[in-house]
Amino acid sequence: MNHKIEKLKVILVDDMEDEHVIFKKALSAMDYIHLEFQSFKTAGEFEHYLDSASGIAAHIVFLDMHLPDKSGFECLKGIRSNPAYKQLVVAMYSVDKDERTISKCLGQGANIYITKPREFGLLKQRLKEVLRSCMQYHSMGMKFETFVRCF
């Protein structure tokens, strides 16, 4: 179903404080969308939030592949096995750009895979494109199953 989003709820799950800072900086540069940003350092913290969330938990979740308590991949499996979150938009990211890793993540149910660039400017640009893609998905009423993209 199409609907216009007034405020985009973005969640980041990453154990590195540096990443939180970088993401926040990159996201604050998005001038045309209102964002609500939340971050978690472990899969456990994030899963706890999901258990207690009501309404739309998030419009998009950025999930690091390497978390301290669980792999991002295992966390993704957990999300997808919960009926309430079968259609939660998940973007996995890593510096790994191997096609097998990408296919594995998208095949397991991630909607988006991002190869993390090292340069901040490029990351900012890439995140902007990801968010735009997410907005388009929500507003165009695209099919969830085939909403898969690689950045």
């Binding site: 199409n2 998208l106 095949g107 149910g109 507003s139 898969v148 993209r149």
Partner: protein
């Protein structure tokens, strides 16, 4: 027993609409651009109808801006569905069809949807290509149906919009379906 169900989405939509309208006791007429004219001003009836239709994934749009955006989207969907892309510039074609000024239509659409008409069309074509790929149509057939000049052109645009080649995309969906 396993079988496939083939359906015509237009027939399904019209039947469902007819049923809901009759149930609500509202007379209606379907217009040229997919808009539905309701022959009633009874706000309560309209709201109840809107609620009933929402259950089936239909949304009643009555704000003039949203309606115009939807009209444009309907024209585009029809163009892609009929596998006929106009020879002239697409925005011009749409503007002509609506009887409106071309630059107004372009600007208006971009403002409302945060994307240009041209980009929206490419997105919709790629969505259709995905759908056809999963129905096992060949790339050659798909490029013809969606009016691409060649398979290379189709694959190129597909990769540009999704970051994946059509082949890898199919592989990923197959894995998803196995895992589900």
């Amino acid at each position: 027993m396993v079988c496939n169900i083939k359906f015509d989405i237009n027939v399904a939509f019209n039947s469902l609409l007819k049923y809901q309208m009759e149930k609500a006791g509202v007379d209606y007429q379907i217009g040229e651009f997919g808009e539905v004219e309701l022959f009633t001003d009874d706000r309560e009836k309209i709201d109840a109808l809107g609620k009933a239709l929402e259950e089936f994934g239909f949304k009643l749009i009555d704000s003039p801006k949203e309606r115009l955006v939807q009209k444009i989207k309907n024209i585009i969907a029809e163009m892609i569905d009929m596998e006929q892309m106009p020879m002239s510039k697409i925005s011009c074609y749409i503007a002509e069809k609506l009887g409106m000024n071309y630059s107004y239509v372009s600007t208006f659409f971009s403002e409302q949807t945060h994307t240009s008409i041209e980009n929206y069309i490419i997105l919709q074509k790629v969505e259709k290509a995905k759908h056809l790929l999963l129905q096992q149509y060949s790339l050659t057939d798909i490029s013809y149906m969606l009016n691409y000049s060649s398979v290379a052109h189709l694959s190129g645009q597909f990769k540009k919009m999704t970051g994946l080649t059509p082949t890898v995309f199919k592989k990923i969906i197959a894995i998803k379906r196995e895992t589900a």
